[in-house]
């Protein structure tokens, strides 16, 4: 009970029992998966990124273990937003639900948002989708596109909208500012880093898609720096993500300026118990330091 109150957070008007949110793409392909994670103690859960049409994703292998993390190239498999929303409608979740969206342009984003809105508590825009017109660079690397898409969605829906930022840019605060300017209720940082693994026995890139996104402890220092910089640059809430596996990782990310944190890869390394374990570590930390959660957020900026 004491722990419960201690960990409550409000994020752009959303109330959550604790600051831990399941990261997009992890177990979030079905409402059953989201429900499981909610029961395992997450304050919020994010759906797999949903697009306008069903997608099977990239050919396997889809995941490769590397030192201190994973490379994944799922290829955004999803049953399409209509299908997913109609399944989600049937389920009552005990956590805040973030609907993640990917699409190719503002119109598509808007369309998917509209379908998803009735079944979720907030939207998360995955801006890491490669931009059709210039392969290689993502939508999320271009401030004008970010602004266009965020403002289109914000105008379309009446629930909080979060922009998920890619670290694969030379200055993440520039992208964060564009999202804030366009009316985003918050940002999420970070998505995966681009990476590749080649097998020396067969001399082949292992992933079916050749390259993929790096997640896990390897990227944690990059996430902390991104959150820290965004906290200095923005006044909207920040959701931290990237290699959060231990209580220290979590508190570090909050100190850098995150109001809440997503957990993804830790589920492979620690198991589903990670939400309860992190929450209880955090509660003990707050208790032994005699601090409230809100005092922790951004406290590293005092120095």
């Amino acid at each position: 009970m004491a722990e419960k109150k201690l960990l409550e957070v409000e994020l752009a008007g959303l109330k959550m029992a604790n600051p831990l949110i399941l990261a997009s793409g992890i177990m979030g392909t079905t409402p059953g998966g989201l429900n499981r994670v909610a029961r395992e103690g997450a304050g919020g859960v994010t759906t797999k990124s949903l697009g306008p049409e069903p997608r099977e994703g990239h050919p396997a292998p889809n995941v490769v273990k590397v030192t201190a993390g994973y490379l994944n190239a799922m290829g955004l498999p999803n049953p399409g937003v209509e299908e997913f929303a109609s399944e989600l409608k049937e389920v009552e979740l005990e956590a805040a639900v973030f609907g993640s969206i990917f699409a190719h342009n503002d119109d598509e984003f808007r369309r998917v948002a509209r379908v998803l809105e009735p079944t979720v508590d907030a939207l998360e825009l995955n801006l890491s989708c490669p931009h059709a017109e210039s392969l290689g660079a993502a939508i999320g690397a271009r401030p004008p596109l970010v602004e266009e898409i965020v403002s289109a969605v914000v105008r379309e829906v009446n629930i909080p909208v979060f922009a998920k930022l890619t670290p694969n840019v030379s200055d993440i605060t520039e992208i964060g500012r564009a999202a804030e300017l366009a009316g985003a209720d918050g940002v999420v940082a970070i998505n995966t880093l681009p990476g590749m693994s080649i097998d020396v026995g067969t001399r082949r890139p292992i992933l079916g898609n050749k390259s993929g996104g790096l997640s896990g402890p390897a990227i944690h220092p990059v996430a902390v720096k991104s959150v820290y910089d965004l906290y200095e640059a923005l006044s909207i809430p920040i959701i931290g993500a990237g290699g959060i596996e231990s209580g220290e990782d979590l508190v570090e990310t909050l100190l850098a300026g995150a109001n809440a944190c997503q957990v993804g890869t830790a589920i492979a390394d620690t198991g589903m118990s990670v939400f309860r374990e992190l929450n209880s570590w955090l509660a003990d930390y707050l208790d032994s330091h005699q601090m409230g959660l809100s005092e922790l957020i951004g406290a590293a900026h005092d120095y």
Binding site: R36, V63, P79
Partner: protein
């Protein structure tokens, strides 16, 4: 962590088991130490990566019995001695060790993990086998498993139809405390119904599309249960809780589809 890194192995030998199933023998100590029912993620360089059960162990070598179905298994069947495979795992949990009289009920290539179970424990416990396949030629590992009954869908050998009829028969004739099963989900569902009815325990190996094997991607979900990590072997109590078991599965996109 160690088991998650891909290990590149050469194929030691290839053997035709049935017109659609070949056994590939591979040196891989970590898999050779696995429990029956655990599975491997096997990368076929140049093609895909698929989950496979260990079907037998010989010292540090394992047997993989691979059924030709779609693109990856088709490519797999073209591999020869000395060609390379990438292996990670073993993943998931295995079958409970049989200590009381048990019955193995297997359909098609689903018999693979049961064969490993049989190999490992047949001398320590009383183990009966019922095996089924589409047709006589597709019946697997008959010599080793010496089934008390077989079934084929076309009736070319044993009882015509599924394994369920011979299973019921065996259960009423010999003492069985636990049933172990693996095969198409419709069949597993049938086995489950019989076990509930006859009040015997069940250890069932489930199958779902597996893209990661490490519990992240969600492609293998049955309700909130990750077959790759929380399974693939499940007991009766768990099965009772599932809403999707035997009814719904997920396609590659995550779309709900009738089984």
């Amino acid at each position: 962590m160690g088991k998650d890194k891909i290990r590149i192995r050469k194929i030691e030998s290839v053997k035709d088991e049935t017109p659609t199933i070949k056994t590939f023998k591979v040196f891989d100590p970590p898999s050779a130490k696995s429990d029956p029912g655990q599975f491997l993620m096997v990368w076929v360089p140049g093609s895909g990566e698929i989950p496979l059960a260990v079907s037998a162990v010989h010292d540090d070598y394992i047997d993989l019995a691979v059924k030709r179905r779609g693109s990856t298994t088709k490519y797999f069947h073209e591999l020869e001695e000395n060609d390379k495979l990438g292996i990670r795992g073993p993943y998931g949990n295995g079958f409970k060790k049989p200590t009381e009289p048990s019955l193995l009920v297997g359909g098609g290539y689903g018999i693979a993990p049961l064969r490993f179970l049989h190999q490992k424990y047949a001398e320590q416990a009383q183990i009966h086998v019922v095996a089924g396949a589409s047709t006589e030629q597709e019946l697997l590992f008959l010599a080793e498993l010496d089934p008390v009954a077989v079934s084929t869908e076309d009736g070319s050998r044993g009882i015509e139809g599924t394994v369920l009829a011979p299973m019921r028969e065996v259960l009423s004739e010999v003492e069985v405390k636990t049933v172990y099963t693996s095969g198409p989900e419709k069949m597993v569902r049938g086995v489950y119904d019989i076990c509930i009815n006859k009040e015997v325990k069940l250890e069932a190996s489930l199958e779902r599309i597996m893209k990661c094997g490490v519990g992240l991607c969600g492609s293998c979900l049955i309700d909130g249960f990750r077959v790759c990590q929380d399974g693939p072997v499940v007991g009766l109590d768990q099965l009772k809780e599932f809403e999707e078991f035997g009814v719904w599965e997920r396609s590659f996109s995550g779309r709900k589809e009738r089984i």
